[in-house]
């Protein structure tokens, strides 16, 4: 048992890329009891049910009380969770999931095929206002309960990403009885099968979770079985990063997320605080260049911009080694990620020649390039909600270095809605938009020309406005292909074309750093979307 525990943690840490072994190793036998306070820097969700809307803050907290049909291990393989096994039909259009028969929701409702059907229905019901889950189920035509333990998904076309989609917290299973309640009630206290139960939620302050003593259904890669160790979890929302870290220092809280680079560096010095780094899956953090309009409709200008931006120095100075530079469109945790450093060297000279070739020959008083009277300027709206300060500083440094080559980068920090508005109005030349989704299928969402067509809300995911039939072709086939190797090849071809087209300037993985008091042991993140799970965590006090 102990061996298993540490072993698994070791695996988890391999991924984490940062040892959680503090000075107070070796840790003793896990002890039950105690209250853990988690301080989240993400915005407080407006609804604790991740079906509604579906953003990362919801994923973070709901992972403590909701569980999905499947999960993913640190190697990226899909592993059983609430579903013990699954079998796709040969045409890939129907999937049968065999469910655990020993699981009940914390309100006593039995977890069965009917429950799954109800959940999928709930997700696809427009009045639920689901967005993430809704999109992920785009190809799911229908769900039926074959038996109490077998549920069948019928697809409109093969979907190689189905399992990855189902592994995400936004598609987690909730008690159908609870789902019948009004949305307000369900938002305030969603009912799942997880190791903890939502006890109360004081808006603007904290969510209180208590242990689910009847818990039986940890994912296959969990550190132990049976109920969680912690009695209680206080889930606080402290948006101000400085206050959050100070609170951790003062021992007011035990775990914080969205740790800023400088605080991570401080934590390295301190014995009392440990770090847990677990990059998010899906796309890397990158700057997308709007190839849909001038000046970036010209590949030479796109390359020139990328070559003129000194990203390496910016990242090293601002992230102080807490983030590694990425040369890929995908997160480094994606097995299928293709990385090509050569394309992204900082080379002002090359950039200059490229601009000359592209016709941006003259330059004006301020040293900016000009082409027939038009200054070479780049509109760059920045979402202050989605880009942490360090990242905004990276942009500022890119602005500064690109200036030397003659780019005028106009940074415009905006609140979320104005930012979306700017994108919807196609009022941008460069933009950075994180996108978290399990698996390489994220590429289809981000770079398939279909995604240029705005949703009713005006939002569209293909912000680089990549419109390349070949890429479309590759991505669509990949999404249909269930054979792993074939799929990987298709995706790597697609990535090559995207990278070589200089549509994106990769920066680093979506940062996902946690800091914890060193007496918090066994905390790990789910390899699905890298949200922490407190199931294995215990207090070594």
């Amino acid at each position: 048992m102990l061996a298993a525990t540490t072993g698994i943690i070791a695996v988890g840490l391999l991924v984490a890329g940062c040892t959680q072994a503090g000075p107070n190793e070796p840790v003793g036998e896990p002890r039950s009891g105690g209250t853990l306070t988690y301080a989240s820097g993400d915005a407080e969700p407006s609804c604790l049910d991740p079906h509604v809307g579906g953003n990362f803050p919801q994923a973070l907290v709901s992972a403590q009380y909701l569980e999905s049909l499947v999960s993913r291990d640190s190697g990226g393989r899909i592993i059983p969770w609430l579903a013990e096994s699954w079998t796709p039909s040969d045409d890939g259009l129907t999937w049968d999931f065999t469910l655990r028969d020993d699981v009940t929701f914390t309100d006593g409702t039995v977890f069965d095929a009917e429950a799954v059907r109800a959940n999928i229905a709930h997700l696809q019901d427009p009045t639920t206002l689901s967005s993430t889950g809704y999109l992920a189920l785009g190809k799911v035509a229908g769900v039926e309960a074959v038996s109490s333990t077998v549920v069948r998904f019928t697809l409109s076309e093969p979907d190689s990403a189905l399992l990855e989609s189902l592994s995400q917290p936004w598609l987690a299973m909730e008690s159908p009885t609870a789902l019948l309640r009004s949305q307000d009630e369900n938002c305030a206290s969603p009912v799942g099968t997880g190791p903890f139960i939502v006890e109360s939620w004081v808006k603007q302050n904290a969510v209180t979770l208590v242990r689910n003593d009847d818990y039986v259904s940890p994912p296959a890669d969990a550190g132990h079985s049976g109920p969680a160790y912690l009695d209680e979890v206080i889930w606080r929302f402290i948006p101000d990063s400085a206050s959050r870290y100070a609170a951790l220092q003062a021992g007011e809280v035990d775990v914080i997320d969205n740790a800023q680079p400088d605080t991570i560096m401080q934590a390295e010095q301190s014995d009392a605080i440990e770090q847990l780094d677990s990059p998010r899956p899906g796309a890397a953090n990158r700057i997308e260049l709007n190839s849909g309009q001038a000046p970036f409709d010209d590949v030479r200008v796109r390359e020139a911009f990328i070559r003129s931006a000194n990203v390496d120095d910016a990242v090293s100075s601002l992230f102080q080694g807490t983030a590694t530079r990425s040369y890929s469109a995908l997160s480094s945790v994606e097995a299928t990620a293709v990385s090509n450093a050569a394309l992204f060297d900082y080379d002002p000279a090359a950039a200059a020649t490229l601009l000359d070739e592209a016709g941006w020959t003259e330059s004006d008083a301020d040293g900016y390039r000009v082409k027939n009277g038009v200054r070479l300027s780049v509109e760059f709206p920045v979402s202050t909600n989605q880009s942490i300060p360090a990242e905004q500083s990276v942009f500022e440094q890119i602005q500064a270095t690109a200036k030397e080559t003659g780019f005028e980068v106009k940074l415009a920090p905006l609140d979320l809605s104005s930012w979306y508005a700017a994108l919807a109005a196609n009022d941008y030349d460069a933009v950075s938009a994180p996108y978290t989704k399990v698996g390489p299928d994220v590429l289809r969402i981000l770079y398939h020309s279909d995604s240029i067509v705005p949703a009713p809300s005006g939002y569209f995911a293909n912000l680089a406005q990549v419109s390349d039939p070949d890429i479309d072709e590759l991505l669509t086939t990949a999404a249909r292909t269930t054979d792993a190797d074939e799929r990987r090849d298709l995706y790597s071809d697609a990535q090559d074309r995207i990278l070589e087209g200089f549509y994106v300037l990769p920066l680093y993985d979506q940062q996902n750093h946690f800091l914890l008091r060193s007496d918090v042991v066994g905390l790990r993140t789910l390899p699905t979307v890298a949200v922490p799970t407190l199931y294995d965590a215990w207090l070594n006090r």
Binding site: D262, D313, A314, E396, S418
Partner: protein, 286 residues
């Protein structure tokens, strides 16, 4: 009552222990500070030749040292340079906001004070309503509508100070209108217009100078607050409030990033107050 009215009220209770004629130590210091601020606003290059936006990633987060008196920020920019260059935008915002507030205040106040009961009543009700949005609330409401940014923040601060100015000006007008010397002028057979021009307006507007001085201090603090809340000027603009909100992130590791801009805001506000009091004391003693 508004911030401004309170400040004004405090200022005009001229420091009883200070001799009116003699220039107090505090005032001479404040005077010099004001001079420095003006210089750094008009010709920052004289005090800080560097480039406030010039980055130097390799010397980021340096604590105050000989090379960088106030230390450096996350991109290795020199904080001293930025603070000095920030004076301009900060003072400008403060001045603009004050101008807006004062302008509106004068219009409203004069309307109320000069155009008889009905107007006075209406304007007063209107002001009462505005006062139900204490302090920043009016500004925040305005920002909700027109979105954040330097311009809106400036206007917002201006708007939320306007009622204060208006009420003071109105009161001043009314008190001057009923003074003995205005009556004396009537007795000397002066026309309304002459009296307005020679007595009422000068005696009403003179105190506004003090008000404006105090007001700028307050406006700067408020504008900085808005920037700090991320609703005003944005980084990397060298504006004190914006610098503070940038520094806030690193407060646990790099206190100097927020300390020095804040210090300058406080200094400016104090300077404004002391000068305002000084000017006021002189004005009422001759």
């Amino acid at each position: 009552m508004s911030d401004l009215e309170v400040r004004a009220r405090l200022a005009t209770r001229a420091d009883r222990l200070g001799q009116p004629r003699r220039l107090g130590v505090a005032e001479s210091v404040a005077g010099m500070l004001a001079l420095l601020l003006l210089v750094s606003a008009l010709a920052p290059q004289l005090l800080a030749p560097g480039d406030p936006l010039g980055i130097d990633p390799l010397s980021a987060f340096e604590p105050p040292n000989l090379a960088h008196g106030f230390g450096t920020d996350e991109s290795g920019r020199d904080i001293y340079t930025r603070v000095v260059h920030g004076t301009q935008s900060s003072l400008l915002i403060g001045a603009a906001a004050t101008a807006i507030g004062l302008g509106l205040g004068i219009v409203l106040g004069t309307l109320a004070g000069m155009l008889g009961r009905v107007v006075d009543f209406t304007v007063n009700r209107f002001l009462e309503v505005l006062f139900a949005f204490p302090g920043l609330l009016l500004a925040l409401l305005f920002i909700v509508i027109f979105g954040p940014g330097v311009a809106t923040a400036t206007i917002a601060v201006g708007l939320s100070t306007a009622p204060g100015y208006a009420r003071i000006i109105r009161a001043q007008l009314i008190s001057v209108r009923s003074t003995a010397f205005v009556e004396a002028a009537t007795v000397l057979g002066r026309t309304r217009w002459q009296i307005l021009r020679r007595h009422i307006l000068p005696n009403t507007l003179a105190p506004l100078f003090v008000l404006a001085t105090l007001g700028i201090g307050q406006a700067i603090v408020w504008a900085a607050t808005l920037s700090y809340l991320g609703l005003g000027a944005e980084p990397p603009t060298a504006e004190w409030g914006a610098m503070l909100s940038a520094g806030r992130t690193y407060i646990t590791s790099a206190w100097w990033m927020s300390f020095f801009p804040g210090l300058f805001i406080v200094l400016t506000a104090v300077t404004a107050t002391v000068l305002g009091r000084g000017i006021d004391r002189r004005m009422r003693h001759l």
